[in-house]
Symmetry: C2
Subunit: 100 residues, 2 copies
Amino acid sequence: MDQVEIFKALSNKTRLQILNWLKEPAENFPEQLNPDFENIGVCVGQIQMKAGLSQSTISEYLSILQRANLVTATRVGQWTYYKRSEEGIKMLNQIIGTAL
Amino acid sequence: MDQVEIFKALSNKTRLQILNWLKEPAENFPEQLNPDFENIGVCVGQIQMKAGLSQSTISEYLSILQRANLVTATRVGQWTYYKRSEEGIKMLNQIIGTAL
DNA sequence: AAGATATATCGACTTTTCCCGATATACCAA
DNA sequence: TTGGTATATCGGGAAAAGTCGATATATCTT
């Protein structure tokens, strides 16, 4: 995994917000329909509405976060649910502790 | 301090390398003349030579790192010595632990 | 004061990132 | 199979970052 790619993924206000929102899905996405979203994550449409950017932009941002291993995606029917990857974020801490 | 600016500063291979080199100045900059460089840092010219990019580029990169509080600068005569700001890097760990 | 050296800043060009709207794809429901 | 909905991908225009050479500034030496 390229460290630069991780930091690039974090170099954007909206992407940092998304990562933050996903820490507390229940509070930040009260309109989410799927009752299991604490485990599975939040769908793209909810994140898009909250972020206030276009659907295509948010979809791309989420895949940038995914490529950096900061979130994981689960497809269920027509929805894709995204949640934080705590392992990936832990690895980032290690990078900063050692490589940096 | 803007988190995005910190991550942007880290989103570049050369700037990450510089930060790394400055962890071990004695090993990475054996040609440094100033014998006190462990405390004061390494001068721009040494960093430029090692990085292999132009003088202007490295000068700008160092000021980007400085604006992000990742290094500090000390002017001594005609030289500017840069060293890691361990406090700034510690703060980055906090950001990742809390804000992220 | 004049020349030499180290660093910073400026102007320009190229590449990348930020976003969007439009379109494609995948899935669901009737 | 025909719509309808959710997400992904594509193409593009504007803004930012990467990088350079040239020039400016600061300092030192003589």
